[in-house]
Structures are given as C-alpha cells and as structure tokens.
C-alpha cells in the first residue's frame, strides 16, 4: 500500500546542513500497522511528514496505493491535499475556532466531490461514535479534555475513510493510565477499520504492543525492520538491543563456530558461553553478547547442560514489586538481572546465574 524508496531529506539549520533522512526504504502492506520507532532526531517524524507531503524530500520515491506521490527522478510532487491520507498530530492540532462537529466535518467539506449535507452528518456521527465522542458535536473544541481531543483528532483523520492513516506520536501527550488503555483501543479500532497505518513513536512499549511490523530508526537510517517479536529477540546491533528493552552486553571472542542449529561458543574474560552465533563469525573474532535481564535465572544445580552458568557477587538488590532488580558483578563487568520477587537474595551474596544458550545472542561488531 505504501512504498518508500531511498528517501533523502536534507535541510539547512542554524547548525549547518542536517541530513535528517539518509536513504530510508520500506514497504507497508495493505491493512498493516507499521511503526517507525526511534529516539528523537532519528528522522522518523520527517519520514512520516514526507509521506503526508508536508515536507518535500531531496531524493527518493514515495508510492501510496500504486500512485506515485513523490519522485525525485520524475520531478513530481503531489500536494498534500491530493493525497488520500488521514493524519493525527502530536499536538492534536484541533482547530480552536470550530466545534467538535465542524472539526470532523472539515475533511468532508474539502472533498473533491460535493457531498450532500445528510451524508456528511451521517459520516461525522459515525466517526464520533467510533471514538466514543457521540453527543459532543456542538461543544467548542477547546472545551475537551486531553483524551477527548486525542480521540477527536483521530475521528477527523478517519472520517473520510482514507487509504492511509498517519499517526505522529498520538499518545505522547496523554497521562500514563490513559495512554495504556488508548494503546489497545487505538489498535483495535484501526484493525477493525482495516486502514493501512504508519505510526511514529519513541515509546518501545507502544511499538511492541501495537505494531505488525517495526522499523527501528537511528541517525536518519533504518537500523532494523522486523516483527515486534524478532526486534526484541534478535536485535541486529547494539543500538537496537539497547533501545528496545534492557540488555546486558559482554565483550567476548568467538571460540567455537556455529553448528547446524546456529549455536556456537564465545569466551569472555571469565567464562566460555554458548550463544547464537552468525554463520559468518570466524573463530577469534570479537563479538558482543546480548543477554536480557529477564532471561537470567538462579541456577538450581551445577549442571551446565541447560546452557550457561556464571558465578558472581551481588552488588545491589532492589525490590520492584513484580520483580527483584539485582546487579551482579561478574569478573570486571556488572550484570543486570531480573529475578522473581520472592528470591531471597541480599547484597554481598555469591550466587550462580544461569541462562539458556538460545537467549544469548552474539553480535558481530
């Protein structure tokens, strides 16, 4: 439904030339919920605004539903108003001089074919009911709460049933509780409508829980594009591993190449660990081992057949309610471990940690 090819965006700022987007390419399938995830300044919002046509890139091509809307080669830019999109802004951009009804009716009044008044009224009512704002039609827009404004912005974006829905950090201005419930509500609504969606966020939890596919962006490039599960389980590089979830990093050297199932061995300063090893990793090569805190458990025995074991000394143990956050010093590094809250562990204890080989990922730098 959406194709973005080799997008390049540069602009002049007070700090000099900024290369905001550097060759971003991706495809979003029909009905897919696609998320651009990354820290601020990574180029995710710029990419979204290019799809909307609010910004014009220097190079590349953007296709929406088979129609080329931007192409540097063909010197073609379709203005925003001719693109079949709906967009929700971070600030919601609710027009303060209009009522709730007028805000939602606006896109319909702007449609190229004139719509009968009754049709417009019908569509507006349906859109407002979808976002649970029915009955507030005549209220001036500034009289809405933050959550209501957010839903009004959504209603306005979907009212003309666009092919593509663009969302720019729509939940970031809501308080934590509301944000959590809106995550599920928003995804359920979008899935019910079946609209192809591009979602921009810096919140990994939103990206993981809502998306069909996630692109992690960094410094104007896509660092990795995968399903949420893959992104979390099999990060491509240290940036992605670090940006999504928590991770321990251990410097190591490959000591045994990968077998048929992809498992090999690497040696750190204190131990040799079984890990998932890329096929091209040669013996002696430096790698970084990634282990998630929640994958590490307390070993019940000295039996190492299950995977890897490491002995260390507890530096700190902090009770988090649903978990015990333990820092364990192993050799010259400190591992962060998430243990069951009932674990009887205190500072200074020497403990034996265990994690399976397939939860230890080697990244070739």
């Amino acid at each position: 439904m959406i194709e973005v090819r080799n997008l390049q965006v540069r602009y002049q700022s007070s700090q000099g030339l900024v290369h905001a987007v550097q060759g971003v390419s991706f495809t979003v399938g029909t009905g897919q919920f696609y998320t651009l995830l990354g820290p601020s300044g990574c180029g995710k919002t710029t990419t979204l605004r290019c799809i909307a046509g609010l910004e014009t890139p220097q190079e590349g091509e953007i296709v929406i539903d088979g129609e080329v809307v931007y192409s540097s080669a063909k010197r073609l830019v379709v203005p925003t108003y001719r693109r079949d999109i709906g967009m929700v802004f971070q600030s919601y951009a609710i027009w303060p001089h209009m009522t709730v009804y007028e805000n939602v009716a606006f896109p319909l009044h702007e449609s190229r074919t004139r719509m009968p008044r009754t049709v417009i009224r019908d569509k507006v009512r349906r859109a407002l009911e979808l976002v649970h704002l029915g009955g507030l039609e005549n209220r001036p827009a500034p009289f809405l709460s933050g959550g209501q404004q957010q839903r009004l912005a959504l209603a306005r974006a979907i009212v003309r049933e666009p092919k593509v829905l663009l969302l720019d950090e729509p939940l970031s201005n809501l308080d934590a509780k509301l944000r959590e419930s809106m995550r599920f509500e928003l995804r359920a609504l979008i899935k019910r409508l079946g609209i192809t969606t591009v979602y921009v966020t810096h919140d990994q939890l939103e990206a993981l829980t809502m998306s069909d596919r996630v692109s992690v962006m960094n410094l104007g490039r896509i660092a990795q594009e995968s399903s949420p599960f893959e992104i979390y389980r099999r990060p491509n590089d240290r940036f992605v591993a670090n940006f999504i979830g928590l991770a321990n990093f251990l410097e190591a050297r490959v000591s045994h190449p990968a077998n048929a199932s992809g498992l090999g061995e690497a040696t750190t300063s204190v131990a040799t660990l079984k890990c998932i090893l890329p096929n091209n990793a040669a013996v002696g090569e430096t790698v970084v081992l990634v282990v998630r805190p929640e994958d590490i458990t307390l070993a019940s025995s000295q039996d190492r057949s299950q995977g890897n074991q490491l002995q260390g000394k507890v530096v700190s143990a902090v009770f988090l309610g649903d978990a015990l956050d333990v820092r364990v010093s192993v050799g010259d590094s400190v591992l962060q471990v998430k243990l069951h809250p009932s674990s009887a562990i205190s500072e200074g204890d020497v403990i034996l940690l265990e994690f399976p080989a397939d939860r230890c990922l080697a990244l070739v730098s």
Partner: protein
C-alpha cells in the same frame, strides 16, 4: 494522473515562490521608506542652515543649529525638567500601580471586579482632556476647588496651584497608573505560587517568602515596566503642553513645539531638529535599558505557573484602609476629571457647582457642536483619519509579521527591527520628522502635505511597533500543525488560509485595529505639527485650539462626547474580549 500531477505541481510551485519573494521585497521596501525617511530628514534637517525645510540643500549643511541649541541658556533647565518630570511621574505611577495590583491579586480586598474594571477606564479619556479637567479643578484663578475653598473656607490665597512642576508630576503619575497596572497584573498572576510555597517549606515566613522569593523574581519585570513608563513620561506632550507651557515649565516636547510655533519670530526648524536629536538620544538610551531589562526578565520566564491560585493574604483591619485608599485613587483619577468635564459641558459660562447652577444647565454647547458644519467636517476628518490609520496599521503589521515570522526572507530580522524602531522615537520628534518629509514631498508631489493622509501616514508609522509586536505574537500562536492538519484533510492552500489561518488571526487583527483607532483619535502631537487648516484638522487639534481661545464649555462638550465614544468602544472590546476568554478556558 501522474502527467496531470506533474503539470499541476509545477504550475503551483514556481509562481507561488516567486510571488512570495516579490511580496517580501515590496513589504521590506515600503517599511524602509516609511521608517527610514523621517529619520533621515530629521538628521539632515538638524544640519540644515536653510530658513525653511523646503530649502534643504546638501551644500548648506552645518553645525550651526547644534551650536545655537547648545548656546541656549535654558537648555540645562529643560534637560533637568524633563528628567525630573519623568522620574517623578514614573515613581508615583509605578508605586501606585504596584500597590493596586498587589491588593487585587494577592490580598482579600473587596470589590476586586470593580477595581479591575475601573482602573483601566482612565485610558478612555484622552490625556489632553485630563489635563484640561485638572486645570478646571485646580487652577489658581478658575479652579473649582480653589474657588470653593476661597468662598467656603475663607482662604485668601489659592490653596492648590496646578501650574507647577509638582502638579504636573502628580497628574502624569496618575495617568501612568492604568498601563502599569495592566502590565503588572499578568506579571503577578504568572508567578508560580509553588515557588513561594517552596520557600515556606524551607522555613521562611510569609513576609520573608514574599521578600526573598516573590519580589526577587518580579524585580526584573517590574524594572522593565518602570523603564517603559519612564519613556512614556519623557515623551508626554499633553500635560506639559496644557499645564507646563502656561506655567513656563518647559520639557523637551514642549520646547520643540514652541520653537516651531513661536509667535515672536519665524519658526526655527533646524534648531528644533537639533534639539530633537538630543531628545531622541535620551529616549534611545531609555529604550536600550528597556531592551536589556526585558531580556533579563525573560530569563525568569520559567516562572509562568499553571494557573494555581495562590493563598490570598488576609488584610485584617487594614482591609478597610486599603479599600478606602483604592477608592480614593479611583475617585481622584477617574471619576473627578470625567465629572468636572461633563459638568462644565452643560454650563453657559464657568461657575461653581451649587443648587443655582443646576438651574442654568443648558444643552446649548452640545446643540452648537452638533449643528456646526465646521465641526462636522472635523469629525469626518477624524473618523476617516482614524479608520485609515487603523486599517493601514493592521494590514501593514500583518504583512510585516508574516514575513518576519513565517518566511525565510533574508531581511526578515532587519525588517523586524525596522518596524520596531519608531517605538524609540518620541511622538513630538516623529511629528517633526514627518513635517520635514512632507515638506520635501510637497516639492515633488504637491497635495499630500496638509491633508489628513499625511497625518494617517505618520500615525501608521508611530503605531507600527505595537502592531507588529501584536501580530508577531498572534502568528506565532497559530501552530503550524493547525494548518498542516487542514492540508492532511485535503485542503488547498487558499482554503487553509480562508478556513483555518484567517479565522484564527481575526481577533488579533480586530484588536490592533480598535487599539489604533482609540489612540489615533486622541493623540495630539502628530496632528498638531502637521495641522495646516480646516482641511486636515482633527478633533484633538480642534480642542487644543478652542482651549487656547478660552471656549471652555464647548471644549468640555466635545471632550465629553469623545470620551463617551472612546469609552463605548473600549467597553465593547472588553465585553467581546471577555467572551473570547471564556471560550478559551
């Protein structure tokens, strides 16, 4: 589809860009001419040794005017008078305003709404009329208060003498209160009371929290307001003109006026310019410190709170005293001048109020005004001049602000500075500068000098700083998202302008327009210097002339009507403004 789109996009983009750039250049050029030409002629004229401005030639430039001004033995006195007058009036104005603002914002004084409404009301009464009202009250010979004391209490000598520096300072000080009050209230309101509460949690009592936190944080803001008021007092012409000139107490603005209007000899334009240059330098120094104070106070802008209402300070038994003093101010500054003016407007000749005077009350003054075709012409002049000025100011300010805030035009910073520059020029100096401009223009294109258009042009330049500040802020407030959301809804550019941008700008445009009308209708300096006869006489000049001729009841009638109209406009705006604020909250 795609072929059509190529054509469309090309057609749309190129000319829009070109047109926009050409527009930016045009706006820049217009502003440059409007602002730079008076300043240029002011400077040139100060070196011109020609007898009249029309004879200005480059070969005739010399320092003779400056020498003459410096040699004038009255110069040190004028310098001293101006500074003493401004410092005194500013002190009174700011102290009273701080007291009033603090009482209504932070204490449990009664009738707050009434005080909020009454204090700014003084603004509706032109300074010229206020000065006249005070003369009617306190003049040694005709002043009602002095007469009453003489007849009632047996005083031989007049008790009050309006024709003195002290009286001028007091009246100018009272005139500064409403503006200072309106600037101080938001300053006090934006103080986050949590900062004060934090001091309390650190063990500070109410007084020391106020002293060590609140006042410290407010100090830069108060300083900026004080300097602003000081500049206003330095530039004032109305009270020095009506009260100071007959008393022989001259300040810069009245001295320049006398140099041009003196009856004993020919006007000395060049010397007026040389004196104006000195005056301008003083105002520029004031503006420099004002700019520094503002940027300093903006460093504290984190103090803008979230609208929590602070704990009100209980005045206890002081409450009655505070209420009485507040009402004393309102009676003296607002009610008395308006009442005395209205009273005189019903009299055939001046006389003390008594039961008998109500018997001779007459509407003759009003009837004469309303039936006089001469005054009708002047009212028409005033209305046309005000409306043209207001429209030109609003449109030009909007255009400049669009370039400054929204475009990437290379000269936008310079343009912004250019539009703000007139704020540093005292009204009388700007009037003199435009007198020179129009006398030069008259040589090439006769017919502009001596018309209401010349007054409208000069006023537009004078109000440009206010207009562009307001429009800049208004355009900045319309977040780009609001327009982009419309593009994303399928709107074309002109539709976005029409449905989103323009409706959101309307309040600011109307605000600038009405503010300009209110000010153009009452300021005397510019129309007085550009006045060339009935053709371009406006109400302020008419009242000035009639006052000089001693037609006091007639002036009072005109003034009462003008004040009522200005008051009605102010109140109307306020009611509409309140409605809008209700929408926003």
């Amino acid at each position: 589809m795609s072929v059509a789109t190529i054509a469309l996009s090309k057609v749309m983009r190129l000319p829009t860009l070109l047109r926009r750039d050409a527009m930016s250049y045009a706006i820049f050029a217009l502003t440059l001419v409007l602002v730079a030409s008076p300043i240029a002629f002011l400077v040139l004229g100060s070196f011109s040794s020609a007898k009249i401005p029309g004879d200005l030639v480059f070969s005739g430039l010399s320092f003779s005017n400056y020498r003459a001004v410096w040699a004038d033995p009255s110069l040190p006195q004028i310098l001293y008078n101006t500074l003493f007058y401004a410092v005194g009036a500013t002190t009174i104005g700011v102290v009273v305003a701080i007291a009033l603002a603090w009482l209504v914002e932070r204490t449990d004084i009664r009738c707050k709404t009434l005080i909020y409404a009454a204090v700014p009301l003084t603004l509706a009464m032109p300074g010229l009329l206020q000065a006249m009202a005070w003369v009617l009250l306190m003049s040694p010979r005709i002043g009602f208060v002095n007469q009453a004391l003489r007849e009632g209490a047996g005083f031989q000598e007049p008790v009050f003498n309006i024709y003195s520096m002290q009286a001028m300072i007091l009246i100018e000080g009272l005139r500064l209160v409403p503006t200072a009050f309106l600037m101080l209230v938001p300053l006090m309101r934006s103080m986050d009371p949590m900062l004060e509460e934090a001091a309390s949690t650190c063990g500070a009592n109410a007084i020391s929290a106020l002293r060590k936190v609140t006042l410290r944080l407010m100090l830069p803001g108060v300083l900026a307001i004080t300097i602003y008021q000081f500049i206003t007092a330095i530039e004032a012409f109305e009270i020095p003109g009506i009260i100071g000139m007959p008393a022989g107490v001259l300040v810069f603005s009245t001295k320049i006026y006398l140099l041009l209007i003196q009856t004993s000899s020919l006007p000395v334009y060049g010397q007026a310019n040389a004196l104006a240059m000195l005056y301008l330098v003083i105002a520029l120094v004031g503006m420099y410190f004002y700019g520094r104070a503002v940027s300093h106070s903006e460093r504290y802008s984190i103090i803008t709170g979230k609208g929590y209402r602070p704990q009100l300070i209980r005045l206890g038994r002081w409450r009655y005293l505070a209420t009485v003093l507040t009402w004393a101010y309102i009676v003296v500054a607002v009610i008395m001048p308006v009442t005395v003016l209205a009273y005189v407007s019903f009299l055939p000749t001046l006389r003390l109020p008594s039961m008998a005077t109500f018997g001779v009350f007459t509407l003759d003054n009003y009837r004469e005004i309303l039936e006089s075709p001469f005054i009708a012409t002047i009212v028409t002049n005033t209305v046309i001049m005000s409306v043209v000025t207001a429209t030109a100011t609003a449109v030009l300010s909007f255009a400049i602000a669009m370039v400054v805030v929204r475009s990437r035009f290379w000269g936008r910073r310079v343009l912004d500075q250019l539009a703000f520059a007139p704020s540093a020029i005292p009204g009388m100096v700007l009037a003199l500068a435009f007198l020179w401009v129009f006398l030069q223009v008259d040589k090439a294109v006769p017919g502009v000098f001596g018309t209401i258009w010349s007054i409208a042009i000069a006023f537009t330049v004078a109000f440009l700083p206010y207009g562009t500040r307001t429009m800049n802020a208004a355009i900045l407030q319309v977040h780009r998202d609001l327009e982009e959301a419309a593009y994303a809804s399928g709107s074309r550019q002109w539709r976005v302008m029409q449905r989103i941008f323009f409706p959101l700008m309307v309040p600011a445009l109307i605000g600038v327009w009405v503010w300009t009308i209110l000010h153009a209708a009452r300021i005397i300096g510019i129309p007085l210097l550009l006045y060339e006869g009935t053709k371009n006489q406006v109400l302020a000049v008419l009242m000035w002339n009639m006052w000089e001729q001693g037609q006091l009841p007639a002036v009072a009638a005109i003034g009462t009507l003008l004040t009522m109209v200005l008051l009605a406009i102010t109140l109307g705006m306020r009611i509409i403004g309140f409605g809008r604020n209700l929408d926003k909250s």
